[in-house]
Subunit: 154 residues, 2 copies
DNA sequence: TACTTTTGTATCGTGCACGACACAAATTAC
DNA sequence: GTAATTTGTGTCGTGCACGATACAAAAGTA
């Protein structure tokens, strides 16, 4: 395949990733709407359902997002009474994020969601083992791409 | 795997897709910056390098984007003198998008980009055949997920 | 101790992304 | 041939996503 052919939309590898990402967020929407949250907010909740008290920094590194994305996002979640923000006593620069009762309760409703999405994806020829392989591939790429970014900073 | 376990961040399938999508856009950035365009604008150019004259509608359906995303995007591209917009004579509702000379010339510079990105992705254990498989999986999902959306509209 | 650097978080500006809605041109129905 | 509907594009408001930048707290250094 020459360079001319690589420039065809159908040859691009990144394009389907970009499209599926957006379409998946859209597929999540009806379920998340019922909970009054967005997809990035759902990701923050996933982190918080696993860890009682995390700093902003921990959230950004787990989700590979910048603080300037997460900060306003957390503000909206605080305004929606899903989380609380308090300064760490050990390090006054850090902000600790904790779930409110309302935020904790959403976990029960949310537990129904991943399986429903999985069922949609399985209506194709793609089966569970294929999905696991795909996930591993993507996780390798996350490793490379998130390091790539660090290189340029240094 | 029970529902509790599915709610772990590490168990989510959509999350790596979401992350890789964003990280790839970021990896494209230095190359696209040199051309003075963004990743979604690059996608529009890919369509236009293949087709001399397309309507807004054709762009939205090829990229799975809404008109209310593409319209302002095209306006910015027109302001940057990359494209021209003219009303179709056969159907006064349609707007035809065509490349300017500047827009056509970018194709040469752009032809170097996809391969560079591919090289980054190949620094992992993931090899070209794996990427092709991944691409096919994602394209199947695009089919299902973009139909899913149409279902709800009807 | 005073100075410099690093770290953790946040604000600002720009560009998507999309739901809700608007509106005119074209098509269809009666 | 006029009214109702569909189609193609666009505006508006909200929420990310991120580069550039700011700033205070903490850590390191002379």
């Amino acid at each position: 395949m020459n360079k001319e052919e690589q420039l065809k939309l159908s040859s691009q590898v990144c394009f389907p990733i970009y499209s599926v990402s957006r379409l998946l967020t859209k597929a999540y929407k009806p379920y998340l709407d019922r909970m009054g949250i967005t997809y990035p907010q759902y990701l923050v909740l996933l982190v918080l359902w696993e860890n009682d008290s995390v700093t902003v920094n921990e959230i950004t590194s787990k989700l590979y997002l910048n603080t300037n994305t997460v900060s306003p996002l957390l503000k909206r979640m605080e305004a929606a009474h899903l989380i609380e923000r308090k300064r760490s006593k050990s390090d006054e620069r850090s902000v600790l994020i904790e779930l409110t009762l309302k935020g904790k309760e959403l976990k029960t409703i949310a537990s129904e969601v991943p399986d429903k999405l999985l069922q949609v994806l399985l209506t194709t020829n793609v089966q569970l083992p294929d999905i696991m392989t795909l996930k591993e591939t993507l996780e390798e790429w996350i490793e490379v791409l998130s390091e790539q970014k660090n290189k340029e900073n240094k």
